[in-house]
């Protein structure tokens, strides 16, 4: 049962800053369930540990699918990797799986990169017989990912863009509210995306009293409950996203606090990515000259 290196089998750019790859990780592929995530770390000495959702798992081929947005240094470095390159450390599957069952009508709302974790959940919900209403959104057309995948598994599909370049010009909350107002109210909502989006989705569904699961993407270190860096305030109590989550009843999450905590290292992260870009530019200059 020796672990083998995590080779990238294939990689694709989904939009300007969003990438996807299938990576060899047989042990994780076999154990992974929808809703779980991994932690990736690119170097043993200096690497930063970042959580990424498992957007798909193929136990037969021993691969998992990762989708990430280039935001910090580690995601930028990941984006620069090619097929056949190796990722040094991947640990998982972490977190609790989504509770998949037949709720009746399930609304799956995803924004931006949040569509990645939402996909395997939606797929599993469909398999268990739910009527699936998907609402997928992005800032603009180029940033919308996984449209086809969602089309295949949705009974109804709503697409929104902030600028109206594709689908409905709206935020995902608008079609969500419409769905909530229907006479046959949906039974369960899953909302995954930027923290602000989840916050507003929860405000909508709360009004209509529809249970809403959110999947939180806090900063993490170990992913095993050891550090508490991922903690949020839930129903007034501290909870650790890595072991108590990542999914929570969105109506009880203190989003405001979570959003601030997410930004705690913004300044430092910006510096790191600038340094990495400079380093890359210099490297490219060198190669060219």
């Amino acid at each position: 049962m020796l672990k083998e290196p995590h080779k990238i089998v294939s990689k694709k750019q989904l939009s300007e800053n969003v990438f996807t790859a299938w990576v060899r990780a047989p042990l994780i592929a076999e154990a992974a369930k929808p809703g779980q995530f991994v932690i990736v770390c690119l170097s043993n000495e200096y690497g930063e540990r970042i959580p990424l959702t498992i957007a798909g798992a193929d136990p037969e081929n021993g691969t998992i699918r990762l989708i990430w947005q280039r935001v910090g240094k580690t995601t930028a470095e990941l984006a620069d990797l090619k097929a056949e390159d190796k990722i040094m450390n991947i640990v998982g599957p972490l977190g609790n799986p989504t509770e998949i069952k037949n709720y009746g009508t399930a609304v799956c709302v995803g924004g931006g990169i949040g569509l990645a974790p939402l996909l395997p959940i939606t797929r599993a919900l469909k398999k268990t017989g739910n009527y699936i209403i998907s609402i997928i959104g992005a800032r603009t057309k180029e940033l919308l990912i996984l449209e086809n995948e969602f089309k295949d598994i949705s009974d109804e599909l709503n697409i929104t863009t902030d600028d109206g370049s594709y689908g409905q010009k709206a935020l995902v909350t608008e079609p969500l509210e419409e769905v909530c107002q229907r006479s046959n109210k949906p039974d369960q909502v899953f909302a995954i995306g930027p923290a602000v989006m989840m916050k507003f989705c929860c405000e909508v569904t709360k009004k209509y009293n529809i249970p809403t699961q959110v999947s939180l993407n806090t900063i993490m270190v170990d992913g095993t409950g050891m550090c508490g860096g991922c903690r949020i305030e839930y129903d007034g109590q501290p909870k650790f996203v890595c072991v108590d989550g990542p999914e929570f009843d969105g109506h009880k999450v203190n989003f405001e606090l979570m959003i601030k905590r997410l930004n705690a290292y913004k300044y430092q992260e910006k510096k790191a990515i600038e340094q990495y870009r400079n380093y890359k530019c210099k490297l490219e200059d060198k190669i060219e000259s």
């Binding site: 049962m1 020796l2 672990k3 042990l27 994780i28 154990a31 770390c41 690119l42 170097s43 043993n44 000495e45 200096y46 690497g47 930063e48 540990r49 240094k73 580690t74 040094m88 450390n89 991947i90 640990v91 998982g92 599957p93 972490l94 270190v221 170990d222 095993t224 409950g225 050891m226 550090c227 508490g228 860096g229 903690r231 949020i232 305030e233 501290p238 650790f240 072991v243 203190n254 606090l257 601030k260 905590r261 705690a264 290292y265 430092q268 992260e269 510096k271 790191a272 340094q275």
Partner: protein
């Protein structure tokens, strides 16, 4: 005293000893040898080790302070019963290899233990010399001597002999001190041993908790390298209970026995207002960012950011609190408070670390504890509100109970708060293993052989003892390994019998 004076004194003592008239009073006259250290103002700006280790002359002088007591009270104080008297005698004679061999009979990680064991409450507490001076810090410096001989070997650690392969598979879960010893000892018996570690680096708390300036990571790495050379397989990024459960390892992956050494786990918070604010860390997070991911090199290679504290308050009085406070100093904090509910006498930290912390300018605030943490509109910490305490009657632990003084609230301005008030057991193994018994605090229940309620499964270290020490974890790793070796011998006999 200069180095040549030291040398002269040593020669004189050795001469006396040769003639057979070295008296205990001569030994009492040898001053306790101070260990050379980096100056506080220098070491505050680096992460290198603080204590630099004895010179040869110092080591022998210190060893000559030992009275060679017949009843060896020091050995009784040592959790793993190292033959202290004998190894010290060997050092006094200049036989350093022999000294190390004696230590290794009982302790596998002398370079680590010599540095981090709380000797002043173990072997040095009971040492006759310390008793004579009524001061455990004046006892024979057993730990420093242990470190001295261990360091001599650092560049070519002996690889122990391995018995012929038995074909039996042992899983060691967690690569802390207990796991390392359990792996080494079961491998020596010829078993096929695999260590599973959740993190991307091995060593447990010795790597992500205890800072470089107290325990250089290269020392731990060398011990891991020895394991690898012995043929132990090490699998990092593998969480038992997630990647595979213990049940799966035992029933599907064909492991014949397992040692669980997963450590303490979840950080404790105080359940006070404001603990989720930005700038409040658990010591685990703060130290892991700094040590494991080397966040002190952020911008110079390291990718993990850490908020650079300006004014930090560390809550707690143990080793973890000292380590956090001193790490904050090294990250550039201008002011670091250490806030503790009781008095210095009750602090569980090693005396040496308390002393070092003070030298580095850490402001000890005893008989105080936070009541709430206050933040600004952006949720950044700005203040802590503390209460003053007094000591009441002793509680179950024998320590005097701290009692808050009503109405004594006051504020301290800070931007970082580090909670170092202990850990509770990680429930992961508990939740994912059938038939494993735990006590009400979530610690695994074992018998005196470290056997759990599941056949073939043994456990030790912090997950059994609660927050303990490196040496206790090591000791249990060794006991468990012995039990596993015996168990597997039985098991092999049985399978042979069955196949006949």
């Amino acid at each position: 005293m200069t180095q040549s004076d030291d040398k002269k004194q040593l020669d004189k003592l050795l001469e006396k000893q040769r003639k057979g008239n070295l008296k205990p009073s001569d030994r009492f006259e040898i001053p306790p040898q101070p260990i050379p250290e980096q100056e506080p103002h220098k070491r505050k700006k680096n992460i290198s080790e603080v204590a630099l280790g004895y010179t040869e002359t110092q080591a022998r002088l210190e060893a000559m302070r030992c009275l060679q007591c017949k009843n060896v009270p020091c050995v009784k104080g040592c959790p793993v019963r190292i033959r202290i008297k004998d190894f010290i005698a060997a050092i006094a004679e200049g036989h350093y290899k022999k000294a190390l061999q004696i230590i290794k009979e009982n302790s596998l990680l002398p370079a680590v233990c010599g540095r981090v064991c709380p000797q002043e409450v173990q072997c040095q507490l009971t040492c006759t010399v310390g008793k004579k001076f009524k001061d455990p810090t004046k006892a024979v410096s057993i730990g420093r001597l242990e470190r001295y001989v261990a360091d001599l070997e650092q560049d070519n650690i002996q690889i122990p002999e391995i018995a012929p392969e038995t074909g039996m598979k042992v899983a060691v879960i967690g690569s802390g001190p207990g796991g390392i010893v359990a792996a080494a000892d079961t491998r020596r018996a010829g078993h096929d041993v695999t260590v599973f570690e959740a993190f991307h680096k091995t060593g447990g708390v010795m790597v992500y908790g205890i800072p470089e300036f107290r325990l250089p990571k290269s020392i731990v790495q060398k011990e891991i390298d020895v394991l690898k050379k012995m043929g132990v397989k090490i699998i990092c990024n593998f969480i038992v209970g997630k990647t595979r459960t213990l049940d799966q390892l035992m029933n599907e992956e064909g492991f014949d026995a397992a040692y669980i050494g997963v450590g303490a786990g979840l950080p404790r918070f105080m359940s006070i207002e404001g603990e989720s604010l930005i700038g409040v860390y658990s010591a685990n997070e703060f130290l892991t960012r700094a040590n494991l991911m080397k966040a002190y090199d952020f911008g110079k290679g390291a990718d993990t950011p850490i908020a650079k504290p300006k004014i930090a308050a560390v809550i707690g009085g143990g080793n973890v609190a000292m380590d956090s406070a001193r790490t904050a100093v090294r990250l550039g904090a201008q002011k670091v408070y250490l806030i503790y509910r009781r008095t210095e006498k009750e602090m569980p930290a090693r005396i040496e670390e308390v002393h070092h912390a003070k030298e580095e300018g850490i402001d000890f605030r005893i008989l105080q504890s936070p009541k709430r943490i206050i933040g600004d509109e952006n949720f950044n910490v700005t203040d802590i509100e503390c209460l003053k305490y007094r000591l009441g009657e002793p509680d179950e632990s024998g320590r005097r109970r701290p009692i808050p003084i009503e109405g004594s609230e006051f504020h301290i301005e800070v931007d970082t708060v580090i909670m170092a008030i202990g850990n509770i057991a990680n429930p992961l193994i508990r939740k994912t293993t059938t038939g494993l018994e735990f006590n009400k605090w979530g610690n695994i229940i074992v018998d005196e052989n470290c056997k759990t309620s599941i056949e073939g499964v043994y456990a030790g270290g912090d997950i059994v003892l609660g927050a303990a020490t490196v040496i206790l974890a090591m000791g249990q790793g060794r006991i468990a390994a012995n039990s596993i070796n015996q168990y597997l011998k039985q098991k092999k006999k049985q399978t042979l019998r069955n196949t006949k």
